[in-house]
């Protein structure tokens, strides 16, 4: 009874942790409450359930803490998506292992179904997250990887997995369950490989939902209500985020995940050399310093160059000159949902200055300057105007409708999605080539001179 009560309190803490995220003010307290709930649940489980192997369990927990805490403390904010993918993967693996260990003959059908589901989903989540990690860490190519006959292969793995799942239910064979685990691992790999670099955020959030569901299913296996509630909460949040991301990209989910199979090769643009207008730091400083309103559209490139602080200083300086400045944050800017907000918060940019698409676009035509720093795809007019573009349908910042555009870029290389951007050749656009941090620092000095 008291054990169930402790689990109930823990579940409430998790719920409040998610609830706290509805405003940045209570978010941190909420997260701490969630951690407290987790501690309560773990201690309860240990005192109540660790009849055998207590010392070994403690040792494993200590070891996990020794590995997990330093990794989480030292990770750079730009690398958060990889870290989340990795933590997600180990969670999925843990769920699969729990179900594997708990599997035995007999039991109710529903129990066996839950076991099979936990193993399968957990395995998919584990291997899928590892591939996602490899893509984000750029250990492997960020481009979609389509194996020869990839589609047939993927469908084959799905069919084999389902067949094995049914076979396990029918026979309760441990060997078949192990085979199912392997099939699940292959399925996870086959599922994430064809997902393109820019779509990886969707894959992470979907895998997050998967792990949640695997944990919920393991709750059936162990008849533990806390696991069911917590796993379901995560499953719901992952599903919802995935849907929001798909909306932010303006494409149906199926197209994002399986698009690489059907996508025609993007037609090569006319080979003629086109000219871009490249400006000096002084030109841009004058453009900015005498504007009335400026919107800054930051992308992942800004964070890679560690230029968030320089950007914030420039904004304060411009505001000091009476100019209205805001940041336009695209939902998929960065490498996971909301990533750019975290990166700017790290540089002490107050969150009130962070504006979304719907807040910025209506006023775009009256913006004097749109300053694009290290972003590319989220301002690509092709997404709006060219039905043939691979990103067609993705809502973008209409910076081409501002009076002037300044594009800060390292080179003419296309963005993460590997798509050419017409905006670079627009007559309104001034290019400022160079490292974002370096350029922003020079701009800062030049604006001070005005």
């Amino acid at each position: 009874m008291s054990v169930q009560l402790a689990y109930l309190v823990a579940a409430l803490c998790f719920l409040l942790a998610l609830k706290g995220l509805s405003t940045p003010r209570f978010a941190r307290a909420g997260n701490l409450l969630g951690a407290a709930g987790m501690a309560l649940a773990v201690v309860t489980a240990f005192l109540h359930g660790a009849v055998h192997n207590g010392l070994w369990i403690l040792l494993a927990i200590v070891l996990g803490t020794v590995v997990g805490v330093p990794a989480a403390r030292s990770v750079k904010m730009t690398a958060i998506p990889q870290m989340v993918a990795l933590f997600n993967g180990v969670g999925g693996a843990a769920a699969a292992l729990v179900a594997l260990a708990e599997f035995h003959d007999g039991g109710e059908l529903l129990f066996r179904v839950a076991t099979v589901l936990t193993v399968l989903i957990g395995a998919v989540s584990f291997s899928g997250s590892l591939v996602t990690f490899a893509k984000l860490q750029e250990i492997m190519t960020t481009r979609p990887v389509v194996l020869p006959a990839g589609r047939v292969l993927s469908i084959g793995i799905v069919v084999v997995s389902l067949g094995l799942a049914v076979a396990v239910l029918a026979t309760s064979s441990t060997a078949l369950l192990v085979a199912l685990t392997v099939a699940g691992l292959l399925l996870g790999i086959a599922f994430v490989l064809p997902v393109g670099g820019a779509d990886v955020p969707i894959a992470i959030s979907l895998l997050n939902a998967f792990t949640g569901l695997a944990v919920a299913a393991s709750g059936y296996v162990l008849a533990n209500t806390l696991l069911i509630v917590a796993g379901t909460l995560v499953g719901a949040s992952g599903t919802l985020l995935t849907r929001m991301m798909a909306q932010a990209m303006g494409r149906p989910l199926a197209n994002i995940l399986f698009g690489a199979f059907t996508a025609t090769v993007a037609q090569a643009h006319s080979e003629e050399q086109r000219t871009v207008r490249s400006g000096t730091v002084e030109d841009v400083a004058i453009l900015l310093g005498y504007a009335h309103s400026i919107v800054i559209v930051p992308g992942y490139g800004l964070a890679v160059a560690q230029a968030q602080h320089a950007a914030r200083e420039l904004v304060s300086l411009l505001e000091g000159r009476g100019i209205t400045v805001s940041y336009g944050i695209h939902p998929v800017a960065g490498r996971m949902p909301g990533h750019m907000n975290v990166l700017l918060a790290e540089a002490d940019v107050p969150y009130e200055q962070l504006k979304e698409l719907d807040d910025v676009n209506p006023g775009m035509t009256s913006m004097d300057v749109a300053l694009v720093v290290g972003a590319n795809d989220v301002v690509n007019p092709g997404a709006r105007d060219e039905p043939a573009s691979p990103i067609y349908g993705m809502p973008i910042f209409d910076v081409d409708r501002a009076r002037a555009v300044v594009f800060m870029k390292r080179s003419m290389r296309p963005g993460f999605a590997g798509i050419d951007n017409e905006l670079l050749y627009n007559t309104k656009t001034t290019m400022l080539f160079g490292d974002a941090k370096d350029s922003l620092t020079k701009l800062l000095a030049a604006v001070k001179q005005l």
């Binding site: 998610l18 997260n31 660790a50 927990i61 969670g91 917590a230 909460l233 939902p331 949902p337």
Partner: protein
């Protein structure tokens, strides 16, 4: 068994309700916070290891305890680091 299904359905509804109100600014912490929460599988891992009868079960269980701990502590610490940075105007 139907009790557990009831819990699942209700939790799904509550989850959708709560998460749909999360501020878009906080989507990354939401994901990493949710990530930490599914580390609750640690509870399951402790329970099966504590009741394990065979050597294989103990090994699988302990591995699960280790991985789940990494998930839990890593998830909460990373989320806390992120949320610490979200401050409003100091004026």
């Amino acid at each position: 068994m139907i009790d557990l299904l009831t819990i699942f359905v209700l939790a799904a509804f509550v989850g959708f309700e709560v998460v749909s109100k999360v501020s878009t600014i906080l989507h990354t912490p939401l994901m990493s916070g949710a990530n930490a929460i599914h580390g609750v599988i640690l509870v399951g891992a402790i329970l099966i290891t504590g009741a394990a009868e065979s050597g294989v079960q103990v090994v699988l269980g302990l591995l699960a305890v280790f991985l789940a701990t990494v998930n839990v502590v890593g998830g909460f610490v990373v989320t806390d680091r992120m949320l610490e940075m979200f401050k409003g105007h100091k004026r």
